[in-house]
Amino acid sequence: MKNTGQLLKEKLLLSFEDIQAEVSDEHRLTVNCRKDTVITVLSFLNNSGYDHLALISCVDWIKDNVLELVYILTAYAEDKGKAKMNILVKTRITREKPGLHTVIPVFENAEPYERELHELYGIHFMGHPRLTPLFLEREYKIPPFRKDFDTRKYVQEVFDQIPFVEDKKAEK
């Protein structure tokens, strides 16, 4: 008796050629794919019932010089086996001028996640309707969530440099 994860893995491997899928945990399926097949893999999974995009995350692997995008899918289902599954779809893109297609056509709620990643990692999502700033007020040379952005140094350079008013008054 194969469990839901194994079945889904076989289905995926049949439909797509250049992906690696792995059932690491009982309820967890990890799929690695290229950046241009992400959207088709996601829509395939969406059609197979995994219709809840829980999270789009990004990991900055600075040693390998790549950004790894992680799409986490679960299912809105009352069927226990399906509802328990977590599917992690991973893809890697370069750190310089990172860009890939938006997945809004497949999952509507991807919009703020992509906006956030654009802001915090500098990833450009092609076809996204509004890549405007979401959280930040100041502009940063390096997007702040990248590993080469040193927040402690930044604090010293910016916030600690501002003088107290009393000191300023004493100066004048």
Binding site: H52, A54, V59, K84, E108
Partner: protein, 365 residues
């Protein structure tokens, strides 16, 4: 009619936390609403990368101030999963009781916010008083009123003190005895019904498409709760029901919250009855030298607002390499809110926003 741009928040009595919405209004109707978050952005996930595994506990609980406990749980569960730590049976029960108490506290806070929004000061004051009673329990158990840092990898920080069980029961009886009062004055109030019925309506299909979770989803008729589908702590040890309503409007959402609160109270009684004796804590390695193998994990739980998740990556070091919280308010506040506000009246902005159960710190992190 002339279109007007109206700024709702961040300085506004009807705002939940520090959040802002830009409304394009025509007369009294909202044409377009644009959520404008980020007033509470502290870059938590970046800060977590600079602190050791244990140092992160004071940090994670501050992500959502209304309900820090589920954040602690999430981080502890992720660390346990990465490091392969088991949790003793008694600690599981204590966690469940503790989290349900937190859920009641959080729902009472939500009730305060909602009643206050509708100008119903009386119920708001009562709800806040009852929440304080719950916080008193937390204070005795953990030493903190708001931030507890009680859940720890491998269990909980300490066992229940002497006689604590009775005090939980007493407090819950006090709150429970006021449920008829709440029902008579608030939930069955005709004016409340008129204000909340058919307001901010979303169908089940829309809710699924836009990533709704928690009450928002359950109010549209979908019976989903992670405590049932992927049980953690001791939720699989007792019987309980998922409260569901079918209309998907503000009225149903608040009723789901009310039913959930009552369900939580019953659940705590059942958990207290079944609670086994034993250890509450499995020793973890020396936190200063603690390194966790190179892995990643996604864990999720049902917080009082819906699905809360954490994607945690370790690269074999003594600090997390990357942490990303999936918070329930994120989609509610940024996708669903904009949709739900369209074509509603200005008077209902806060009404809808609070019935969607949005907390700003969760969105901004």
């Amino acid at each position: 009619m002339r279109e007007l741009e109206l700024y709702f928040g961040p300085q506004h009595l009807g705002m939940v936390g520090n959040f802002s919405i830009t409304l394009n209004v025509e007369g009294d109707r909202i044409v377009k609403a644009t959520a404008n978050p980020g007033f509470l952005h502290r870059g938590f996930e970046k800060l977590m990368e600079q602190r050791t595994w244990i140092q992160n506990f004071p940090l994670v609980c501050r992500i959502n101030v209304v309900e820090p406990d589920h954040m602690e749980l999430m981080y502890a569960m992720a660390v346990e999963k990465l490091a392969g730590i088991e949790v003793p049976e008694r600690a599981r029960f204590i966690r469940s009781i503790y989290l349900e108490l937190a859920r009641i506290g959080s729902h009472l806070f939500g009730l305060w916010a909602y009643a206050n929004m509708l100008g119903f000061d009386t119920v708001a004051n009562w709800a806040m008083y009852h929440r304080d009673l719950v916080l008193d329990l937390f204070e005795e158990l953990t030493g903190g009123r708001v931030y507890h840092i009680y859940i720890w990898p491998g269990g909980v920080r300490r066992d229940f003190p002497e006689g604590f069980k009775d005090r939980i029961i007493n407090t819950l009886h006090t709150i429970g005895s006021c449920v008829p009062d709440y029902d008579n004055t608030f939930f069955n109030n005709r004016v409340f019904y008129k204000r909340a019925k058919n307001i901010g309506k979303i169908t089940c299909e829309e809710a699924k498409r836009m990533g709704a979770v928690g009450q928002v989803l359950r109010a549209t008729g979908m019976k989903q709760d992670i405590r049932k589908t992927e049980p953690y702590a001791a939720y699989d040890q007792v019987d309980w029901e998922i409260p569901v309503r079918t209309d998907g409007d503000a009225y149903s959402r608040i009723w789901v919250v009310r039913d959930e609160m009552i369900e939580s109270v019953h659940m705590i009684f059942k958990l207290l009855d079944k609670m086994p004796e034993g250890e509450v804590y499995n020793k973890i390695p020396n936190p200063f030298k603690w390194k966790i193998p190179d892995k990643d994990a996604y864990v999720r739980c049902e917080s009082s607002r819906g699905e809360l998740g954490l994607y945690l990556v370790s690269n074999g070091g003594d600090k997390p390499y990357r942490a990303h919280f999936r918070t329930p308010s994120y989609n509610h506040g940024l996708t669903i809110l904009e949709k739900a506000l369209e074509n509603e009246s200005i008077a209902d902005v806060g009404n809808i926003m609070i019935s969607l159960y949005i907390t700003a710190p969760e969105i901004d992190r």
